[in-house]
Amino acid sequence: MGAASRFIFRRRGGKGWHWTDIVTWVWLVGGLLIMFGPAVWLGFSSFKSPAALAEFPPTILPYVTQQVNVEGYEQPLALYEASLPDGSTQVLAEVRRIGIVSQMVDPNAPGEIIRVNIGDRTPVRTMSFATENYTEPFVQFDFVQYLWNSVFVTVTATLITLVVNSMAAFALSKYEFKGRSVAMLIILATLMVPLSVIMVPLYSIISAIGLFNNLWGVILPTVATPTGVFILRQYMLTIPDELIDAARMDKASEWQIYWRIVLPLAAPALAVLAIFSVVWRWNDFLWPLIVLSRRELYTLQVGLSIYAGELNVQWHFILAMTVVTMIPVVLVFIFLQRFITTGIAGTGLK
């Protein structure tokens, strides 16, 4: 730890610990635990059997009781560490349990039955990854179909979002026209309308125009995000107007100015919006759940919800599929993370 922390933290002035160094250290390590810890634990939990998931006290890693095949018994038997009346402890296999008494045998000498009070035995456990949490859904569940739907929704929605929002942002940042401030006002005002508030009428609109049970019903309502217009416009305001004048002098049409000058220059902001759009669309749950009720149209998030029944929820599958659905988002983030800060820094949010 010492060497690692010395590597990680350069102390103020290089000599001695200033109190701010301690605060920094505590904050970072605490942050690492609090921010990453839960997700790591989620990852491990996704490999637990249903019984282990329900278990208290919970374990960090997935464990199961070890089992052995004992001569003379058809089924494998569970291994326990039992404290015997003589005070010694021994690893025994449980044959059956009758009330509070467990009948056990020594796996090496299976002849004799030893009776142990169940309070005096603790299971011998080994780490075991319940990979069937992953494999079973892959088999039963049209994973590939759901993945394709998710990818289609995410990519299409993101592309349309980028094009449509950047066009609007271009108009709102680089042109003077009647109604510009009204448009801007409307967009800002709806920046804060949560979906759940307009869900009922939106649902009736979707079903009226026949987009119910249709991936476009998931895509279209989300693509005109006010946030996207807002972020892009703020960024485009920082692009000098002279560049656009120059392009006009260079015989570029307005459309060319948009896609050959403004779009490339707004790339950092577009990257930020793309990242957010991918994350939002990929994680979208409530709305797709409402619009889609046909198997072949499910996205992954909706697909994994089928494990939530009326009376029981099959958490082991949900957890495993949640981890699977998190992977692309994490990958996108890892590859594009440098854009996030530079993009946010440049989107005029400062």
């Binding site: 000098p240 002279e242 004048d245 120059a246 015989k251 000058i261 220059l265």
Partner: protein, 369 residues
């Protein structure tokens, strides 16, 4: 090719009038400089000519064709922007070619033109760099190159040197002059720096508050400024202005008192000057000399700037400030009192409205206390 005529150009942004009835004719091959303080409308006028702004009234003609409703792209002009406005995401080559591609020029010709311009401007070594990798001077050349490849009817340059450091500005200025000589096409050049205007221009257009104050060759403006504004604007350091009054007028001579009693004897004089008329006397700092006559009016020095080749003194005479450029090195210090006189100095007289009454180098002049 390259004649531009502006007739009664008006431009307003909302309720604010930026240009008032501007009339100007620019001849083919001429290098005209628009000069004036910031906010005078010179850039707007340039943008109006470029087609980037629509006029509110009047008409613009290029080579006899009215272009009011012709878009910027189709006026056949090229513009060099103050910030250069190079496309940061394109290489120099792409920057140069962009406009040509837009007019659907064959590839081969684009390559040829880009190469030619690059050679001319000595930027061929940087063709595959992006603007961000170039120095200020190199960017400036690229910006000019982008205009040149277009072979425009006229070049419009909006303060193209203002982002360069002083030294580079001087050398680039010379190159621009050479370029103009070589291309011999019409150029309109906007600057707030009168030195640039003086050195480059065939003709200078001095503007103030949306109006043209005077149009003329650099020396015209220097020698016979039409009004007090032009007189003060052209020439560095700027002209001294002294408030005065006509004390005597006899025939072709006059005596004007300035700065609380200093008498200026003028001969010959022209124009209408009557006794008691208030006026302003302008004299360039270079035209003041140290008087050998100890009775001459004395200037109390406030600051002495020794530049080596010359010495600039800032002084006061009866409460009015005065500046003089003296040749060589002088041994004065702040606080000294120095007798000054006019010797072979052109004087400029302006009436109460600031309009010139007359200015002539031939006037006899003498100061007396």
């Amino acid at each position: 090719m390259g004649q531009i005529t502006l007739t009664d150009i008006k431009k307003s942004f909302g309720a604010i009038d930026v240009l008032h009835d501007v009339n100007l004719h620019i001849d083919d091959g001429e290098l005209v400089v628009f000069v004036g303080p910031s906010g005078c409308g010179k850039s707007t006028l340039l943008r109006v000519i470029a087609g980037l702004e629509k006029v509110t009234g009047g008409s613009i003609d290029i080579d006899g064709r009215r272009v009011n409703d012709v878009t910027a792209a189709e006026r056949g002009l090229a513009m060099v922007f103050q910030s250069y406005a190079l496309y940061p995401h394109m290489t120099v080559r792409q920057n140069l070619a962009f406009g040509l591609e837009n007019s659907k020029m064959p590839k081969a010709e684009i390559t040829e033109r880009v190469g030619e311009a690059a050679r001319m401007l000595e930027i061929d070594a940087y063709l595959d760099r992006r603007p961000g990798q170039l120095s200020g001077g190199q960017r400036q050349r690229v910006a000019i190159g982008r205009a040149i490849v277009r072979r425009p009817v006229a070049f419009l340059l909006d303060e193209p040197l203002s982002n360069l450091d002083a030294e580079l500005r001087v050398s680039t200025r010379a190159e621009l002059a050479a370029l103009h000589a070589r291309l011999s096409s019409t150029m309109i050049y906007v600057t707030h720096d009168q030195v640039e205007a003086m050195t480059l221009a065939d003709r200078i257009v001095v503007m103030r508050a949306g109006r043209i104050e005077q149009v003329g060759t650099p020396l015209d403006l220097y020698n016979t400024p039409a009004n007090r504004f032009v007189a003060g604007f052209i020439g560095a350091p700027h002209m001294n202005f002294l408030q005065g009054e006509v004390a005597e007028r006899t025939g072709d001579s006059a005596i004007v008192t300035v700065a609380g009693g200093v008498r200026v004897h003028l001969h010959p004089v022209e124009g209408s000057m009557e006794k008691g008329q208030k006026l302003t006397v302008g004299v360039r700092p270079q035209h003041l000399v140290i008087s050998a006559d100890p009775t001459s009016p004395k200037v109390k020095l406030r600051l002495v700037e020794a530049l080596g080749s010359e010495t600039v003194i800032h002084g006061e005479i009866n409460g009015e400030r005065l500046m003089a450029v003296l040749p060589g090195q002088q041994r004065y210090r702040a606080g000294d009192e120095v007798p000054l006189d006019l010797e072979a100095a052109p004087l400029h007289l302006f009436d109460e409205n600031g309009m010139r009454i007359f200015s002539t180098p031939g006037t006899q002049r003498r100061l007396s206390a």
